[in-house]
Symmetry: C2
Subunit: 416 residues, 2 copies
Amino acid sequence: MENTLQQQGRAAREASRVLATAGTEKKNAALEAIASVLTDRQEEWLRANEQDLEAAERAGMRPALIDRLRLTPERIAGIVEGIRQIIVLPDPIGRVDKMETRPNGLIIGRRRVPLGVIAIIFEARPNVTVDAAALCLKSGNVCILRGGREAIHSNRCAAKLMREALAQAGLPGDCISLVQDTRRETANELMHLDEYVDVLIPRGGAGLIRTVAKEASVPVIRTGEGICHIYVDNEADMDMAARILYNAKCSRPSVCNAAECVLVHREAAEGFWEKALPLLDGREVELRADKPGMEILGARALPASEEDWDTEYGDYILAVRTVENLEEAIEFINAHGTGHSECIVTADYFKAQRFLDAVDAAAVYVNASTRFTDGGEFGLGAEIGISTQKMHARGPMGLEELTSYKYVIYGEGQLR
Amino acid sequence: MENTLQQQGRAAREASRVLATAGTEKKNAALEAIASVLTDRQEEWLRANEQDLEAAERAGMRPALIDRLRLTPERIAGIVEGIRQIIVLPDPIGRVDKMETRPNGLIIGRRRVPLGVIAIIFEARPNVTVDAAALCLKSGNVCILRGGREAIHSNRCAAKLMREALAQAGLPGDCISLVQDTRRETANELMHLDEYVDVLIPRGGAGLIRTVAKEASVPVIRTGEGICHIYVDNEADMDMAARILYNAKCSRPSVCNAAECVLVHREAAEGFWEKALPLLDGREVELRADKPGMEILGARALPASEEDWDTEYGDYILAVRTVENLEEAIEFINAHGTGHSECIVTADYFKAQRFLDAVDAAAVYVNASTRFTDGGEFGLGAEIGISTQKMHARGPMGLEELTSYKYVIYGEGQLR
């Protein structure tokens, strides 16, 4: 006997057969319908959100988290605006990357196709429900959404409205579905729904992502783990280095492309801190330094522990490490980074090139803030997350990164 | 305390830092050195193989399997020739697919890099050891090879010789390593060596591949499961259909791109079998047919069971299924295929296009044998296997499919 989630999986697989061959016009019409219904019936969505907010308050949730959970007419307008941006993006599906006629006359082309069914496990942000669904829909993928318990009323309402819009546009409602049961067991079951799920993308904290990567038998794309470093070389422009560090650390400390650790060339330390401290002081950034760093920073810093080198603070805290040279910086980054975004600040050409070559990360910067690692900034238009793995896609994942390909072969009776 | 396999993993990771930035000339020199040492010291390799053959005979291994295990001077020459073909292929590493200057002046490029450390679990074919190692080396990937117990002496010798050649060429010997212990436990451990292994590629029978896909926490690329279909439409050239089926079934039944099942349009059945039977009779192909098929084939066929629709025979056996129309054929293929290679034989333009669109497989053919699904035939030069999954790479995997990419960003102090 199939259980509820298996039924949902099977329905998703069936819907994916239809969606995979739906044209761009039809998919855009469905996205338009979603944008309209979320606008026209936002009262319904806001009321559902109110239920989640009340429950969160009763449960004593922290105000910052309650704020993340909250929908407002402005936030809904922002979400709807996001859908409209996806509508105007080019559809990657059906594009033929390569096509050639082989010596035996076979015409072989590589055509972009959807991945199929994408499951997304995420935490308590109701906007993710719509963002993720819209990106999947445009790229021809059916999605199974599994949000956190805290946002269940908001998510149920959003999913219901989106499914109505799909039906209006002549697509199966099952192109978007929500796991209704938010117990831990259903997340676990989803991770093993190999028969129906092609890819699983966890979106949330490091704990969630590690658990999913470890447990799932469905293929996983790891996203959003960011322990990013800024390496300040002795040949850096110290003003530039200070501004880059300040931007990378403080412009939005909670996001994954924020810097968590600065590596300072021993010879650069004094000149660099002279420029950097006044900026960091303005945000009361807590510094956790190694021994040579403490010698310069004195009472301004706390001594770092081994744990600090492997921590994503997501806060106004910065680890400080002293290195003797570029190679030590590279080695440290490759040992302690999460493969997200890494930066060197230097005026030396050869050091810049060496850093780009040797650092193993999704995005490697010379003289720019790591905060640019983002689908919009990279010109992808939108993103479903930032992959820190090497298989399939790396860095910001836009529409094309949600596709696969198939070889199509036109013959005239060729035999081998 | 690290155990042996963890030490091997760590050494592989360290070697990968060197190999990832080694230039094409150096990698080609190492491949040349491997080709030379395997030629010059083939006596050693043949003697080691003799030990495996003797053990296999003592253990009562089937002659066909013993033959697969056997090395001969001719086979070694073939393996060495394979290495030379890889030397002349273009190196994908370092190629920049896309590069653009963003409005803020950032220059952002996407540069091909190796996946890192690739583990390959395979069964008793000593040629795989060298083939796989050579493809990994050219694409800048370190490999950890874990072959079957039956070929352990041959594999140890090949690995030893290749590691000597690497050292001669100035690359770390650990770019290629063999798991020395062939107990089941080490394969299992390798599947969970997340810290050091980026990708795991199982090469072998369906049982091995399913186990690895199910058990591994390391990302896996599934390859080589092939239940391939030929759909004979009522508007097919029946001569062509018969020749394609015969080629797809009989030219090499043991390989993954061989056909296992023919779907025959009800109206095509009589005309098709009239042409096909004489060909299939020549190889005494066993037919296992559904009820309508039995009515036409009579004593020439056995009745098929449900199991037949999901079996990769790898032998002179063919499942026969009757369908009412194209849509039924597509549905059947999407339900029972393994996503490998599928073919329609038809003269109808719209049916051909519909089949290409709707069939979900790595390679979809119109009027040509499925046997063409192969890296060489597709123009990739060589292949490490044929992926039947959608993530990362699909179909024949050549050098480029063994790569990832990183974004390299050139800035002048940009902040976000």
